[in-house]
Amino acid sequence: MSLDYRRYLDETALPLMWCPGCGDGTILKALLEAFASLGLERERVVVVTGIGCWGKADDYIRTNAIHGTHGRALAVATGVKAYRPDLTVVALMGDGDCATIGGNHFIHAARRNIGITAVVSNNLNYGMTGGQFSGTTPAGSKTSTSPYGHAEDGFDLCRLADAAGANFVARTTAYHYRQMVRLIKEALLEPGFAMVEVASPCPTYYGRLNRQGSAREMWRSLKDRARSVGEEGGEARTGVAPGQRPDEEPRSKPADVIVTGVLVRRTRPDFAARYSDVCRRAMKEGGGEAQLDAR
């Protein structure tokens, strides 16, 4: 059953608060389109957000939603999913939220392989507070806290999720709308932890400070730099973060190439399955299996 995405959109909250040229509006539509194409019941979806520009997405979504604190979207989502594994739980985070203040929750959600779909809008800086560098800001980038160039390297979020054990890891860009819908849809169907990283432009801060031209040019650059690995995926098949070059040397410009598509696909059993296994064993040894079944 395919539904109109507007069913999930709170049109009374429009217009969107995001800056002109931001990718978040497109990501929002792709997410809702993915909900629609899977025919998800609004009542059985929980959207958890953190703090930041993309963290405001819950204002426009008509499913269950919780606006958490900064960096803790995955911690809150873990609680929801642990209690109600039957619900579709989605965490929306930016790079400040997911890769910086909440980095610990990110790696542990991936390690635990809990069935949450994380949709990360990566615009390489903290947009909401004025363009400070974040955990994904590439070395050399100018931000409002690194006016002479950033002295640290940024995370490759997909490699991080891969190393931590996520079942499904994919990357796309805000420009590649159809690919984005497909990847989010697939992530929503994954029983374990799934992360879709979306390279998104921030013309207001990152683009302006790094002389990346107009919003239009930033979008064109996403289009030109993307290289799809195809949809087949494969074990530990990872790529290059939007902010990083393939080599290890820190450089002063963002990556020439953004590797997109499904980068990791695993079949590890998810947290809910393994945890109920443990419960079953414990109840059996304690002689309470009948009780568990009765529940």
């Binding site: 606006h67 400070q132 006016p147």
Partner: protein, 433 residues
């Protein structure tokens, strides 16, 4: 980066012919950042949060432009910001950070470590409402949540006072009798983002005022190595807490002493609180922060109509100047305490609870001589019944408080005095219900 340079240019307090000039137009955040530049701490560790971000942002441009020699660390959370500040201060550095709202809440654990380790950290707190629901505007729930953390709290009515408080805070925190951290509170957006013409001091005057920091003991002293914060069970923990309480008590005279010194360099006088037209008043409001400006305006207005009204604005909330404050209020018929946060005790907001406790303590005269000093049990109003006290919770989440609201508070006080009927003790001002 032209914009940053222009911004930074505004911090150069130079008048005509290159003389240090007094008067500049700055936002509260700019004024605090300027004070931090003039203090030039050894270490600043910070994380962005609205509405504090500007302070550290401007400060980072001073670092980038080489105008301060501060080690500036941008960390990945406020918990890390306070932790790094604690580490730096323990190592003997003069260390600062700044935050707001949930940032302060995230620091919670480390606030106690800073105070318990007796580290003289200074932190501007740009007051903002706590989540949930999320809100970025002003109220005092953030700092009030930390009121029992053994941090000294100085509150500011405007950008001028915020600037002056930050400079004084360094001396207070580092005083050998005190050695406690200080937060300097200023109202989010109302003070932090509004422009004000204020008097600033020349750099060398501030540098001379704060002096250099030489702690008695620090981690990085190889001659006298120490450990900070190790396990301390029922054998000594209690004594250490008692010492903290004593340090907070000792802070009161130090705050006054530093204010006197500051007056000699700045010409501006600060007390524990500002008693405005209170001498012959029948009724008064007690209020912290920027709303005191609104109250002052309404007091003047009502005074022109012959109404005997006044204002008491605390500047020091920790330590709480309870006895002096009770002396100042004792002669009144009725007092309204305005709280920009709710304690949810159902007994009123935090400022109300403490003001009423101070009045009670004065009235029953149980304070011993050591506690109270010569003022207890004498002075105006002694022997008279206590003023009737009512509480108004106002302005949560940035809800505006205007002169009309303030007039309504004074009208209510007049009615209370006239009828003798207190009515509801805890009231919510300007809310839909």
């Amino acid at each position: 980066m032209a914009q940053t340079e222009t911004k930074a240019g505004r911090f150069t307090a130079r008048g005509p012919k290159g003389r240090p000039a007094g008067r500049v137009a700055l936002t509260g955040n700019e004024a605090v950042a300027l004070a931090m530049r003039q203090i030039e701490p050894d270490v600043v560790a910070a994380y962005p949060i609205t509405p504090q971000t500007d302070i550290v942002q401007y400060f980072s441009s001073f670092v980038a432009d080489g105008r301060v020699a501060t080690e500036f660390v941008t960390v990945e959370s406020e918990h890390s910001a306070m932790s790094a500040t604690v580490g730096a201060a323990a190592a003997g550095a003069r260390a600062m950070t700044a935050t707001s709202a949930n940032g302060l809440a995230l620091m919670w654990e480390v606030l106690y470590i800073a105070a318990g380790s007796r580290l003289p950290i200074v932190m501007p707190v740009v007051n903002r409402a706590l989540s949930a629901p999320i809100n970025i505007h002003c109220d005092h729930s953030d700092a009030m949540g930390a009121r029992d953390s053994a941090w000294i709290q100085l509150w500011s009515e405007d950008a001028q006072e915020a600037y002056d408080n930050v400079i004084q805070a360094v001396r207070i925190a580092e005083h050998p009798d005190v050695h406690l951290p200080v937060m300097v509170c200023l109202d989010g957006f109302i003070i932090s983002h509004a422009l004000m013409n204020l008097e600033v001091l020349p750099d060398e005057v501030v540098k001379d005022f704060v002096g250099s920091y030489r702690p008695d003991s620090s981690l990085l002293d190889p001659e006298r190595p120490i450990t900070v914060g190790p396990l301390d069970l029922y054998d000594f923990y209690f004594e250490h807490k008692r010492q903290q309480a004593e340090a907070m008590r000792a802070a009161a005279p130090v705050i006054r002493e530093v204010a006197e010194d500051y007056e000699t360099v700045s010409g501006r006088r600060y007390g524990d609180f500002d008693a405005y037209r209170l001498e012959d008043a029948h009724t008064a409001v007690v209020v912290l922060g920027s709303a005191a400006g609104t109250a002052r305006f309404v007091v003047d207005e009502l005074r022109r109509d012959g109404r005997r009204v006044g204002l008491l604005k605390p500047r020091v909330f920790r330590p709480f100047p309870g006895l002096e404050l009770a002396d100042a209020l004792a002669g009144l018929d009725a007092v309204a305490v305005l709280d920009r946060s709710d304690s949810f005790s159902t007994m009123g907001g935090p400022l109300f609870a403490e003001t009423r406790a101070a009045l009670y303590q004065r009235a029953v005269g149980r304070a011993n001589r050591k506690d109270s000093g010569p003022s207890s049990g004498s002075g105006p109003g002694n022997g008279r019944p206590l003023p009737i006290t009512v509480n108004f919770i106002y302005g949560l989440g940035g809800r505006d408080i205007d002169p009309g609201d303030m007039r309504a508070v004074f009208s209510r006080l007049a009615r209370v005095v006239e009828t003798g009927d207190t009515g509801d003790v805890v009231n919510y001002l300007g809310v839909r219900e």
